[in-house]
Structures are given as structure tokens and as C-alpha cells.
């Protein structure tokens, strides 16, 4: 206790959102000559500093697009901060997106070695733990089938089994506590709890305050890329509840959770997601700006938000008929919207 394992000092992250993406030479040269190469600067994180001590379980709260995932990616070393410094001591197990390092043509067994290597485990270690991984993932005979034929649940189970086979010093959880079916979820929760008991330091992103309260002893709130609050979990959760949840009340409140679920399901299945995330940043930002200005006009804001959301849904829709109906569903009673979201996830 007391030893700093993660130290984040004045970290800022800038993205250049190009107005239209230029990735071929012709366009680049033409735009360069015409002097049309404009970047829109976007600071996903602004001057964030905090430290995490050994054994701390830090919850990271914030609305969509607040910069939570960016922050975790910087800590995990995937992204490099534009400014500032991050020091991490110890072995990190990033449970950011499970199975991201899989090769679809490889069988499950081959992928265990590959993904293990990606996470930096030594060969002997993986060989030793191979049986345990297969057993935990409950794949049985399917382990010798190419991963491209797996269901998303199978993929996530295997990914989880591999990623958690180490005893990490620092565990990064980005809403992965809901992997697979109920049975597997229980098992995976147990494994994570075991890691907690062994004194792992945890960075945990969640939208549900209950989860953060249950798991974390400290928490921070990110809003629009800035650190708003930092302190003991209960106090921070209270602030979050007061300041952020109520802002979103009204039409949005019951919708919000379902939205999140539907999006998450898409994330696993379609390629579109990558794009939707990028575009997602912008509307979100606008909204929060609006929020700052007119924080008392809650209902209008909520309407704004749903407009933007539905627009962004249809923009990214692969079969937009279904998604259009979701846009309408914003104002439709819960039971119906429920059905529609179910339909959508089935279709995807």
C-alpha cells in the first residue's frame, strides 16, 4: 500500500479530425497546393493528472466520449499522449477488447499462443497454462476450429481466458464484466474478484454507479476530457449522480441504458463500429457544450441529444431501415422500443 503504480502527469491528448479524411497522395497534394488541408483540433483529454497506489481500485466515470477509453489506452501504452507523461510499474493486463489480437484463420489453439505472445507472455508459460485456458473458455472440441467460425461469445470467452491467465499487477477493465452467457459471466466475475483479493490494482470503466460502488475504493470523473473529480468512490459517485445523471434525465434516462447495450452488441459484430465511434465524438462534444451553456433547460437538451443520436444512428446504419425506426423509438414508450432494439440486435 502507498506505493504508486500508475502515475499520470499532465496528460493531454489531441486528435486531428480532418474535415474529410485524406489518405491518398493525389488528394493530399491537391489540398496542399490549394491550402485546404485543414485539421480540426480536438482535445480528447486535457491536462489530466492523478496517481493510483498499489492495491487501489479506481473507477473511471464519465459520459460517452468523455475520454475514458482514450485514457485507458494511453495507460495501456496503445496510444501515446500528445503532452504529459504516464509511468506504469508492473505487469498490465488490458482487458480492453477481448480477442482483438486473434487471427481469424488460426484455430483457437494456435490463437492461444499467438494472443499470449501479443500480451507478452513467455512461451513456456503459455504451454503450461494451455489446458487451464481451454478448460476455462469451455470451448472443448472447438479449440481446433478456426476462430473465424466462432460465435462472438466463444471469441470473447477465449479472449477472456487468455488475458486473465496471468496474475497482473494492474488490471484494466473496460466494461468487459459482461462476457458470454450468465454462467460464464459468473465465472469471469469470480476470476476478477480473485484478482482483486490478491491485491491487483484495478482501473475500471463503467457507466453503472452500482458497479463502481461495489468494486472501487476510489474514483475519478472525466467530463469532456477534463478531470472533474477525484477521490473516494462514494463521494465521487455522489457527485456523478448529482451532476451528470440528472442532466440526462427526462426522455433520455430510460433510453440511455438500452442504447448502450445495443451499441455494445454491434461493437462485437460489425465493422461499422470503428467509424461510428469516431463520428460519435463530435455530436457528443456538441451536446456537452450545449449542456454547459443551458444547464437548466434539461428537456430541450434531452431532445437535442436524441436528435443527434438518431441522426448518427442512421448515418452509420448498415441496413438503415431498422435503425431509422430506432430513431423514432426515442419517443415511443419503453416496451415498443425494447422490441425494436431486440430486433436490431437480432438482425445484426
Amino acid at each position: 500500500m502507498g506505493k504508486e503504480v500508475v502515475k499520470v502527469e499532465n496528460v493531454s491528448m489531441k486528435f486531428n479530425l480532418m474535415e474529410n479524411k485524406v489518405d491518398n497522395l493525389k488528394e493530399y497534394v491537391i489540398k496542399l497546393i490549394k491550402n485546404e488541408l485543414r485539421y480540426q483540433e480536438f482535445w480528447a483529454l486535457k491536462d489530466i493528472s492523478f496517481t493510483v497506489n498499489k492495491g487501489d481500485r479506481l473507477g473511471i466515470l464519465g459520459l460517452n466520449g468523455a475520454g475514458k477509453s482514450t485514457l485507458l489506452k494511453i495507460i495501456a501504452g496503445v496510444l501515446k499522449a500528445t503532452e504529459g507523461k504516464v509511468t506504469v510499474k508492473g505487469k498490465i493486463a488490458p482487458l480492453l477488447e477481448l480477442g482483438a489480437g486473434f487471427d481469424p484463420q488460426y484455430t483457437g489453439a494456435e490463437n492461444i499462443y499467438l494472443y499470449g505472445a501479443v500480451l507478452g507472455y513467455p512461451k513456456d508459460f503459455i504451454r503450461e497454462k494451455y489446458d487451464e485456458i481451454v478448460e476455462f473458455s469451455e470451448l472443448g472440441e472447438f479449440i481446433h476450429v478456426p476462430v473465424k467460425n466462432y460465435s462472438s461469445g466463444m471469441k470473447a470467452r477465449l479472449g477472456f481466458a487468455i488475458a486473465t491467465i496471468v496474475e497482473p499487477d494492474i488490471l484494466i477493465l473496460d466494461e468487459v464484466l459482461s462476457v458470454g452467457d450468465a454462467k460464464f459471466r459468473k465465472k469471469s466475475e469470480k476470476r476478477i474478484m480473485d484478482m482483486f483479493d490478491k491485491g491487483a490494482t484495478v482501473l475500471f470503466v463503467s457507466h453503472t454507479i452500482e458497479q463502481v460502488m461495489a468494486i472501487c475504493n476510489r474514483a475519478i470523473i472525466l467530463d469532456n476530457g477534463s478531470l472533474v473529480a477525484c477521490g473516494p468512490a462514494e463521494e465521487v459517485c455522489k457527485i456523478y449522480e448529482e451532476k451528470f445523471i440528472e442532466r440526462e434525465s427526462g426522455v433520455m434516462k430510460p433510453r440511455k441504458e438500452k442504447d448502450g447495450k445495443a451499441k455494445k452488441k454491434k461493437k462485437k459484430k460489425t465493422v461499422n463500429v470503428e467509424i461510428s465511434d469516431e463520428i460519435g465524438i463530435d455530436p457528443e462534444k456538441k451536446i456537452s457544450k450545449d449542456n454547459d451553456k443551458k444547464s437548466d433547460e434539461v428537456y430541450i437538451i434531452a431532445e437535442n441529444k436524441s436528435d443527434v443520436l438518431s441522426e448518427f444512428m442512421t448515418e452509420n446504419a448498415s441496413e438503415n431501415t431498422e435503425n431509422k425506426s430506432e430513431g423514432i423509438a426515442e419517443t415511443v414508450p419503453n416496451s415498443i422500443s425494447d422490441n425494436i432494439t431486440n430486433n436490431i440486435s437480432d438482425n445484426n
Binding site: L25, G101, Q105
Partner: protein
Amino acid sequence: MSSAIKNFNKYKYLLMELTKKNIKLKYRRSYLGILWTLLEPILTTIVLTIVFINFRGKSDHTFPIYILTGRLLYSFFSHATKQAMKSIRSNSGMIKKVYVPKYIYPLSNILSSYVIFAISLLVLLGAMFIFKVYPTKYILYSFIPLTLIFILSLGFGMILATLAVFFRDMEYLWDVTLMLIMYTAAIFYDAAKIKDQWVFYCNPIYHIIVNFRNCIYGHPIDMLALKISMAYSFAALIIGIILFYRKQDKFILYI
């Protein structure tokens, strides 16, 4: 520097795994599998011999060896650089989610191409006995051109990988450039017969091929060719490393 070595040691196993993966997946689902490594150069050499033997005038019974030496080096260079160029984009899923030193991706592609190339050298060995070009002590020097072509490919691979992230056009441009390199590398004609000798000085792989042929045919290493090929190889590697390291943090924003 020491931390870079430590980091490399940590990911050495990943490098091996990725190299293995590239080789394994290349021939998966083909009936002849790894045999294609041998068949492909044999078949292309037969084709090239039949086509170009007429242009050559007087018959030369070692002509297939002449073609094979050039062809093998060129096809390694072309395959390796193309693979390395695409490596960042084809591994984008991994790059976005997990931290891995990024040079591992082009390097593993160069390595896997090199292993396949090494296997295909068996064809050359077989052909040497068939066409009675018996090895002399000079064949021991062949490690020099073989090392240089690796360094050259790695250098070009890193340069191209970096450029291809920012400009997709690079992939098409490089295809055309490779064709140019092939035709100006004296793979299937005699360089001495060409008037414009400067063409060969512009070609990064020509001098490596010259020295490789010298080793195979039992001639000493050509010192001028060695100097030029070393200059090309190390220049490419140094530029490649500098460019790659300067730009690698930005890759993730473009893939």
C-alpha cells in the same frame, strides 16, 4: 538503447509467433503447401528460360542458373517489401488494442519471407548440379549478398510501411516501381550488353545480384558492386528506422 534490447527480448517470442503465422497461413488450404516454395521458382525459371534463350543468341547451358540467381533474390525482395508495407494496416486490429513494439510487424513479415526464400535456395542448389555449375570456395562468400538483401529489404520495408499508413497509393506505386526494378536488374539478360550502364547504378538490388552470381559461378566478390550494395542497404535501413520511429506514434490515428 538497453531498454530497447530488453523490450526486444520480451517480444522475441511474439516475433517468432508472427513469423510462423505468416508462413503457416501462406500455404494453408493449398494442396501442395510448402512445396510451392520450390515449385514456383522452378516453373518461372523454365518459363523465363524458354522465352529469353532466343534473345540470347549463342546458347549457354548455364542460362537457367543465371536466371534463377537473379529471380530468387528479386522475388524475395519484392515479396518481403510488399508484405512489410501492408503489415501495419493488416495488423491494425492488434495495434489499436494492445501495446506491441510496432517494428515487430514489418520485421516479422521480412523474416517469414526470408525463411521461404531460404527454402527456395534449395532449388538453386539442385539446378547447380543439374547444369554442372559446381560450387567452389567462393560460394562461402554468398552469405554477404544474402545478408545485404535482408538488410535492404528490411530498410525498404520500414520506409514503405510508414508511407503506406499515410498514403494508400504507395501500394500501387510500389508495384510499378518493383516492375521497373525487375527489368533493370539484369535478371534475364546480360548487363554488359546494355549501353546505358547508369540504369544499373540506380537499381538497389542489381549489385547484390552481381555478387551473388559471382559466388555461385565461382568468381571472387566484385568490390565496387559490394560497396554500392552496402551503401544502398545501410542507407535504406537507417532511413527506414529513423522514419519509422519518428512516425510510429501516429500510425494508430491513420489506420
